[in-house]
């Protein structure tokens, strides 16, 4: 009986491990988004494929906010008039710094590290979150 249970247990473990992908073929978490000159001052630029907002400010430089709502993963929209983010799924509202102002979102929007590469391009790393005050001066 013990042998049978062990065999079943090991087999089930192997099946579960088989189902966990060893390689994720999703988009890379770290990627270049272009030259600094590509991004205008003022309202943030939304990069749809990467689901990020790129902010550029004359005095404070570059910052990158996640466009993924921390509640259930919907893509938030930025409203220029109020300068806040709105989630279409359950109405969460985030302040310009990403803090939750309203709704069921459990935590603020993520901000990602943005750096300048040697070839002069901007690189965003979604694996590295930074505080909302983080800025890259170029």
């Amino acid at each position: 009986m013990a042998a049978l249970c062990s065999a079943v247990g090991v087999s089930l473990g192997a099946v579960v491990r088989f189902l966990v992908p060893s390689v994720f073929y999703g988009p890379p978490q770290s990627f270049k988004i272009g030259n600094p000159g590509d991004f205008p001052y003022g309202p943030p630029t939304f990069l749809a494929d990467e689901k990020i907002f790129v902010f550029r400010d004359r005095e404070r430089g570059f910052a990158v906010a996640s466009a993924v709502c921390t509640h259930l993963g919907c893509t938030v929209a930025y409203f220029q008039n109020d300068r806040d983010f709105h989630c279409p799924c359950h109405g969460s509202v985030f302040s310009p710094t990403g803090a939750v102002l309203h709704g069921p979102a459990p935590r603020p929007l993520n901000w990602f590290e943005i750096t300048l590469t040697r070839d002069g391009q901007l690189r965003v790393d979604k694996d590295k979150t930074v505080p909302p005050t983080y800025r890259l001066m170029v």
Partner: protein
């Protein structure tokens, strides 16, 4: 012609149906015995007792199997081909749109019918001893039905599908400790994408249907072993006394005789296993209450089958299954809604993801499974089980209200928008 008759006889193995013996043998010497006894109680055939909801649910599953297999001939489970195939089915394949409509509406109907069937079984107290375990099997079948519907929802790979599954799987990720890992296991990645579509397809066309078929067999078999449909409440009568339970096969000719059980009799294995005589003789009054399964039950079930198929076909002629633009991970529709049967949960999730996504559904499932073991009251009469009925009715009404609110009263940003109010999108 004799050899044709012999072949026919080897298949049907019964006397002509014009005789009572033939009618009995049609069931008794056949696979039908797993579903019906040779004779059934008249009142159990009444529409107003069971509404044939169990059979209708099963027939809907048959429609889903057949239309699903047909649709598989034109479906490739990877983006963007999946969406293109939907368009092909809609505009290029002969009857493609009609078959897809049938599949979609039958799936919705099955969710409704399996729920109504559960309500009927509860309100008639038919989950009570000895049917407790069959209730549990039924709850498993309800969950599998929801699983089938949910996995099928992603397959068209349109905006509706993509965001419903994004929201749905993110709800699950709030489960403590393992939620995130389970979500990745289900999606085969960090987000809904190619791997998720393939996994949902495998679950939808192979894993879940196999489990449903297996459990349906157990469910039907248990109905038979537990004594068929429970008697309608208005026909309930005191338990049989030991003296009336008698041994002995009914005589070939009427009238039936009540033979006293003999202590000297050698009982067969099946009698020992079931704890009661196989040939339990019935009183003449009880005999009058029964009719042959063929044709009485068979014809009614055939009518239910035809009514089910006809209704789904009629709905499919007039109403098209929704298909929005191709899935776009960058643009979330506003509002993004889960499938309608999960909108009650989504409404709760809009207040608290942990409460609506994990705590309430987990409690609901556990409570449903445990109902026959918590409710120890043996009575099936509504008058004598008011608390159970009130609690269950609260559960049903709360679910329906939440689904109605989520479906009709939630607009952009999940704001409260009655259906008669038109909302103009706010510029970004």
């Amino acid at each position: 012609m004799k050899w044709i008759r012999e072949i026919w006889q080897s298949i049907v193995r019964r006397d002509p149906l014009s005789t009572d013996k033939g009618k009995s043998e049609l069931v008794f010497l056949n696979v039908w015995l797993h579903i019906h006894p040779a004779k059934v109680k008249k009142e159990n055939l009444r529409f107003k007792y069971s509404f044939y909801l169990g059979f209708i649910t099963f027939f809907l599953f048959l429609i889903l199997l057949t239309t699903g297999i047909a649709l598989m001939c034109y479906y490739r489970p990877y983006p963007p081909a999946a969406y293109q195939d939907m368009k092909d089915l809609q505009f290029a394949v002969f009857m493609g749109s009609f078959l897809r409509n049938m599949h979609r509406w039958a799936a919705h109907a099955m969710v409704v019918c399996v729920f109504l069937h559960m309500c009927r079984v509860f309100y008639t107290g038919s989950y009570k001893k000895p049917r407790q375990f069959n209730w549990v099997v039924g709850v498993m079948l309800l969950l599998l039905t929801l699983g089938l519907s949910f996995t099928g929802y992603l397959l068209p790979w349109d905006q509706l599908a993509y965001w419903a599954i994004t929201v749905g799987t993110n709800i699950g990720s709030y489960a403590p400790l393992v939620g995130g890992q389970l979500r990745e296991l289900l999606l085969g990645g960090h987000a809904v994408g190619e791997a998720a579509l393939l996994r949902f397809y495998v679950l939808h066309v192979a894993v879940l249907p196999s489990l449903v078929i297996l459990l349906t067999i157990v469910h039907f078999w248990r109905v038979r072993k537990d004594g068929g449909l429970s008697r309608p409440i208005w026909k309930l009568k005191p338990q049989k006394t030991e003296a009336l339970v008698t041994i002995g096969a009914p005589a070939a000719v009427a009238p039936l005789q009540v033979t006293a059980a003999s202590k000297d009799k050698t009982y067969g294995l099946m009698e020992v296993v079931t704890g009661k005589p196989i040939f339990e003789t019935v009183t003449p009054e009880e005999e009058k209450d029964t009719v042959f399964s063929y044709p009485y039950a068979f014809v009614r079930e055939a009518v239910a089958l035809m009514a089910t198929v006809t209704s789904i076909m009629a709905i499919s002629l007039f109403f098209n299954a929704p298909l929005e633009e191709m899935a776009n991970p960058a643009v979330t529709p506003n509002p993004a809604k889960a499938p309608w049967y999960f909108l009650g949960l989504q409404e709760l999730v809009s207040h608290s993801a942990l409460l609506g996504g994990v705590v309430v559904p987990a409690l609901m499932v556990v409570a449903l499974i445990l109902i026959p073991y918590i409710d120890r009251n043996p009575s099936r009469r509504p008058r004598e089980r008011k608390w159970a009925i009130w609690l269950f009715t609260f559960f049903v009404v709360a679910n329906i209200i939440l689904i109605i609110v989520g479906t009709f009263f939630r607009g952009p940003g999940w704001a409260w928008v009655p259906p008669w109010v038109h909302v103009v999108a706010r510029p970004e």
